[in-house]
Symmetry: C3
Subunit: 268 residues, 3 copies
């Protein structure tokens, strides 16, 4: 697995040089953050959710990110069209099942999307991963009530059933696929007080998947970058408002040395 | 009425410790700000507006905030479902009639929501309160053209008709119920140059109502906290951009001493 | 053409004193930024997109800004109602054809809106202007792949066919009408790493068009103010996060001296 600081920074450079188009069908709360994070890291975000144009937009994208945070009927229809098109084109699909487990509508939609077109990556917190794997995770609203470690078995089941890499985010992020597990220990507790940072991580996973063919590697790179930028942002932040601003600055300025100094990644 | 600095900070602590789930059906402009303010003060925001899941989501919430700032048919239907469910469950409902008076559609929707399930709290500027009380307030867009004092009689009528506590926000915020009035004098003029801060105040009212059973007290606490955090943010801000960032930081860091030093609250 | 620093600042003052209501039907990503930029410069933003209220809301506005960045059927219907109403009332219409050329749906919608009610101003990047003029601009997502200079002939065609002033934004902004061209050289490369700043520029064009009857002059003023505030924000910013915050501060604090020092404007 290529997950040294040098490897990660090589991915960052590919994004900065290539500016891959990442198509996001995401929730209203996260849209602005996701677009800004993608621009800060060097990607080119597009947002489109109308059934009339979703195929055309996926057609020019290098990755698709689907996030169910503020669902409704027309958006779900567009999500199905988008994942079908992405699959037909062979571009990576990232699914963020925000709030799965909190309502049956969300759990069901996430699972149906997974069945319609198995995602390259499913990224959620422990409760959400447990919920889409059919287990009781006790999602409470959109925040996790379960520990990440507890969801690793569920992630492995999802990998077996759908072939998807699964990322369980939390204090430690787990990247699970086949028999492999990677643990990323970067990040900062203050990040849990800023909305939509999980969604933003999913958007970054899309950008890294657009330039790095191995999905587990791309995911580990994205989660390390998100966590490291979050640490840099948290140091010197006066609270969640300034953390959010500084996070975008950190993504934009991130150097190989920053990654080297801070990277906490382990394989089993 | 329990509205000393000590009482207010006790409510803040209840939010920080309990992390109450606050369900927001709010406008597109305010969503991100509202979620971030709720996280900064310690609550757990959820956003959901689909008829298919709104009942389930209200079912796990400790308060419901309905804000009509960017209405459309499907959202209105979800709002009615949400207020019915909240009423059946006995959780507090905060209604923010953004732009009532500016268009008949908004005024009518707000009034019909009030009739369907009387809110625990109606929070708006003077023009909006006059409009939903059936009087001519001359709302100009979404900003108030009337003074807060002029709307107190209208607020009292709303309280008589619906049993709702009414908060009229402005240079001085009035909290009106039964025969009582509380005046909160905190806040800063620069706050009027940041969008959705009224909506954010409504979201905070939801969080305080989730932990404090008296709605007038919860409202006074929320408005004082919002105003005090706004003052702290405005001092040292270079303009509305930095005020917005610093406001979230101030909500997160707010101490009992901050409240003690700044609190301007009066009962008649 | 009145485009000295003194003229521009006179427009800023008219906005600050009059607080014109600017009605925005814009995309989800840009809404918060657009509202905040309008408030920072002194205008009074409203957002409304329901067919049930769009006529009433246009009825109290001094300018209408239509932005197609996240289209769907119901929003398009509201956009048509809005431009018809604005035209009937004689208030300026700004059209921002975000992503025209990226999908046929966007190109077609933009062109149909132009035909239904010729905009006072069409503002987009070079690819978008080429696309709505029926030429191949090769829009890649929502970012331009064409140079602004290459789109001047297309802009002139649009002006001939629709009577609209056309603004092509880029490293140099071109304001094109009749036989005239103005070039505004302000701005900063870091602005391209913040989402929705083009949309924000369109919103500001609406505010300036509300107070300055010549659309080419209003557009030049708005683009100069946006570019100058962007330069002030970029200097001292640590990245795109802080640029965005500082931009709002700069719009709020902008003085005639700031404009005088930095203005780069040329007529042919």
């Amino acid at each position: 697995m290529k997950t040294t600081a040098k490897d990660i920074f090589a991915s960052v450079w590919k994004i900065r040089e290539g500016g891959p188009v990442v198509h996001n069908i995401t929730n209203y709360v996260a849209m602005n953050n996701s677009a800004n994070a993608l621009l800060a890291i060097g990607a080119s975000p597009v947002m489109a959710h109308a059934e009339e144009e979703v195929e055309a937009m996926v057609g020019i994208a290098s990755a698709l990110v689907v996030n169910i945070g503020t669902l409704s009927g027309p958006w779900i229809r567009a999500m199905f069209q988008a994942v079908h098109t992405a699959r037909a084109r062979g571009i990576p699909i990232v699914l963020d099942p925000v709030g799965a487990g909190a309502t049956p509508y969300r759990t069901r939609t996430a699972v149906e999307l997974m069945r319609a077109a198995p995602p390259s990556l499913i990224r959620g917190n422990a409760s959400e991963i447990l919920a889409v794997a059919g287990e009781q995770g006790g999602t409470r609203g959109v925040d996790s009530t379960a520990a990440s470690t507890g969801a690793v078995a569920a992630a492995r089941n999802l990998n077996r059933d759908f072939g998807s890499t699964v990322c369980i985010s939390g204090e430690t992020d787990f990247v699970v696929w086949g028999d492999g597990v990677l643990r990323v220990g970067n990040g900062h507790i203050l990040m849990t007080r800023v909305t939509a940072l999980g969604c933003t991580a999913s958007a970054l996973c899309g950008a890294f998947a657009a330039v790095e063919p191995s999905i587990p590697v791309a995911t580990a790179h994205a989660m390390a970058v998100m966590g490291i930028a979050g640490e840099m942002a948290a140091e010197g932040a006066d609270g969640p408002g300034s953390l959010q601003v500084r996070l975008l600055d950190a993504l934009y300025r991130l150097s190989e040395k920053d990654i080297e100094r801070r990277l906490k990644i382990e394989a089993d």
